[in-house]
């Protein structure tokens, strides 16, 4: 079994699916000869040819809109947008095009499309390269939104996304692209979408996160364990549609929740999770729902970005606050 990083797992999943399904094609800026600015498509063009790993002109609306047309013909495009900060020109096509075609035509046409993009901060990248705006996609009916927090999940969830008959926004937490390696069998086994993963069982408090901040969340859980606080840690993995039952079960057990997100706090995915809990499991709660999040500020440039992001200490502080609540 190869031992791979998260980004290598992304490549592996695309490679696998391109090998077994000739309708799968990859397109985007610099995905071909260059193998992607992060190298997510490294080697794919050499192996699958220029017709299936396509360097496009520089235009994100075009990449998305073109993909809608291709998908409507039964192809399965995997479109790469270079950074989430550059998805905005494509947003029109994603929302008014991709998300709606099946519904608009009562199922006559559909859009089996994956739009991949790296997101999040912490790598000292230039301006507009570090944002986390997954909540914008999560509000749009017709889309699915997925983000992996480990190489194995990247592989399994991306396979699921490619095979999904509907548009999936696949968000890659670039800060952890190369953080850890994992042994993964390249066996084409997909993971289920709309399913949370319980990464650590615990009794005192439920920590919910996704993507790169799973890393800090698990570290916080470790630290807290040393202090005698037992955390259950959930990786939601599919941001939309959310698997709330898994979270509800945990909340019933622990009665306390802290949600960790890198995105700006207001209107983030964490707010939706908190709202669902306050609607459906309010009476299980024995403490306020904590949200550790990026501030409601514009992601600062490199020199200050670490202050913006949820660090381990912010998580442990919040958990202690929630634990101390009475």
């Amino acid at each position: 079994m190869p031992t791979v990083t998260l980004i290598e797992a992304v490549t592996m999943a695309m490679d696998h699916e391109m090998s077994v399904d000739e309708d799968v094609v990859v397109l985007g800026e610099d995905v071909g000869r260059n193998g992607g600015v992060f190298r997510a498509t490294d080697g794919l063009q050499e192996k699958h040819g220029e017709d299936r790993v396509i360097d496009t002109p520089l235009a994100e609306a075009m990449i998305a809109g073109l993909s809608v047309g291709m998908a409507a013909q039964g192809m399965k495009p995997i479109a790469e947008l270079q950074f989430m900060g550059f998805m905005f020109p494509a947003f029109n096509q994603i929302v008014t095009g991709a998300a709606r075609l099946r519904n608009r035509t009562r199922g006559r046409l559909s859009v089996p499309l994956v739009v991949r993009m790296p997101y999040g901060g912490g790598i000292h990248a230039p301006e507009h390269h570090s944002e986390s705006t997954e909540a914008l996609f999560a509000h749009i009916p017709g889309l699915k939104v997925v983000t992996p927090s480990s190489p194995a999940r990247a592989y399994g969830l991306l396979l699921a996304a490619i095979r999904d008959p509907d548009p999936v926004i696949f968000l890659e937490p670039k800060r952890i692209y190369r953080m850890v390696k994992q042994e993964i069998e390249d066996d084409g086994e997909a993971y289920p979408l709309e399913t949370c993963f319980i990464d650590r069982e615990g009794d005192d408090v439920t920590l919910v996160s996704w993507g790169a901040t799973m890393h800090e969340t698990l570290l916080a859980a470790d630290e807290l364990a040393d202090e005698g606080i037992s955390c259950e840690v959930i990786d939601i993995a599919t941001i939309a549609p959310l698997d709330m039952p898994t979270i509800f079960d945990s909340v019933e057990k622990t009665g306390r929740v802290v949600i960790v997100q890198e995105a700006a706090k207001t209107g983030g995915v964490g707010s939706e999770i908190a709202a669902e809990i306050s609607e459906h499991r309010l009476m299980s709660l024995i403490a306020p729902i904590g949200r550790v999040a990026g501030y409601d500020a514009i992601m600062p440039l490199a020199k200050m970005e670490r202050h913006y992001m949820p660090q381990v200490v912010r998580i442990t502080d919040e958990v202690k606050k929630v634990m101390d609540y009475s």
Partner: protein
């Protein structure tokens, strides 16, 4: 300074404003039966238009974008579509769509507010896109369909898309042409230059003397045609489609006509249109143009033209009946709101589907 590139935009017209042939007609136009067919199709278009507007006024349909004065653009272009071609229309594309095989009552359903109007039942148009309301988005979908055809080596197929002259100001229009150019896609894009984008006249959209020249920015063949002359439209689009089908790449065609109706039933063009300009435009309109030509030629009589009108009305009425029958006797169940969102409805959303169905039931049972 040496010249490193030069370009020309040409203009195609066969029948002039007085219905006189100004050029050698293309072969198809020597077949007067075929021309009579085109006339009837344009007449059907106009009849449907008037009927749809009256339905809207009676509160029996939603907002409707008429095609008065633009029948040659839609009918002429649409008549060039083959079984294997794909049409990616814009919201004023009714006539193009009908030419390819969309049922007129489907259009009534769509504009009447029923999604089933975009579930075209005719096998010939199952791959056609539904109407695009967000302007210029359709051009990229069309380029995508063309990309799929090319990737799969499907020569013999091509894509037709259309846009208003106002829509050419949107970046997505240009992005689509640009990629079509560089990838040599089997795509034909027709600009319906009806002089107006709602209230904004064409000369306020761009400094260009022609809309056709916008194709130069994409390095693709571009030309202008008289959009009131269905022969010119059909000839230009037909040749462009044939070129596209055989690997010759994309073409941009500007068809010049005049929007003789309000923008939609929600608009009142008298607020901004100049009555004189409109008067002038009426003199050039496409039905008169072709009708006079056929009468002058002796191919049809004036009396026959009147008979065609009766036939058209009958044909339209049949479509209106299907429309009414569908919305009154066979409305969509409310759960349909959820049934096509995804191939399979997410768990999270199932309760909402049940709620809307239960509420509807309760309301019907007289709650």
């Amino acid at each position: 300074m040496p010249t490193v590139a030069s370009f020309e935009v040409s203009y195609l017209q066969y029948l002039d404003e007085n219905s006189q042939a100004v050029n050698d007609l293309p072969d198809f136009a020597k077949d007067t039966n075929l021309l009579t067919g085109l006339y009837k199709d344009m007449l059907f278009a106009r009849t449907l238009d008037y009927r749809a507007m009256s339905l809207q006024r009676m509160g029996k349909m939603g907002t409707y974008p008429g095609t008065l004065g633009q029948e040659a653009v839609g009918v002429g272009s649409g008549s060039c579509l083959g079984d294997d071609d794909v049409l990616v229309p814009y919201y004023r594309g009714s006539n193009t769509m009908i030419q390819h095989g969309v049922k007129p009552h489907e259009l009534l359903l769509y504009w009447g507010g029923d999604e089933r109007g975009s579930d075209f039942k005719n096998p010939r148009v199952r791959q056609d896109f539904p109407i695009a309301v967000p302007i210029a988005t359709q051009c990229l979908h069309a380029a995508g369909v063309a990309t799929a055809m090319k990737a799969r080596g499907q020569t013999g197929r091509a894509v037709l898309t259309e846009i208003g002259e106002g829509g050419t100001s949107e970046g997505e229009f240009y992005e689509a042409l640009n990629v079509a150019g560089v990838w040599n896609l089997p795509l034909v894009c027709v600009i319906n230059n009806n002089q107006w984008a709602i209230s904004v006249p064409a000369e306020m959209q761009t400094a260009c003397e022609t809309f056709a020249q916008k194709g130069i920015a994409a390095g693709i063949e571009s030309l202008q045609v008289d959009g009131n002359d269905v022969i010119a439209v059909k000839d230009a689009v037909g040749r462009a489609m044939e070129k596209a089908r055989s690997g010759g790449g994309p073409t941009l065609i500007e068809a010049i006509c005049y929007r003789l109706c309000d923008h939609t039933t929600a608009d009142d063009a008298s607020r901004y249109d100049d009555p004189e300009a409109r008067e002038e435009a009426w003199a050039k309109e496409p039905l008169k143009r072709l009708g006079d030509y056929l009468v002058n030629l002796g191919a049809v009589t004036k009396k026959q033209l009147e008979e065609f009108e009766v036939e058209a009305k009958e044909a339209v009425e049949k479509e209106v009946e299907i429309y009414f029958d569908t919305i009154l006797n066979n409305p969509q169940p409310v759960g349909a709101m959820f049934d096509y969102l995804y191939a399979e409805l997410p768990e999270k959303t199932k309760a909402q589907r049940e709620e809307v169905i239960a509420r509807d039931l309760r309301a019907r049972e007289g709650g």
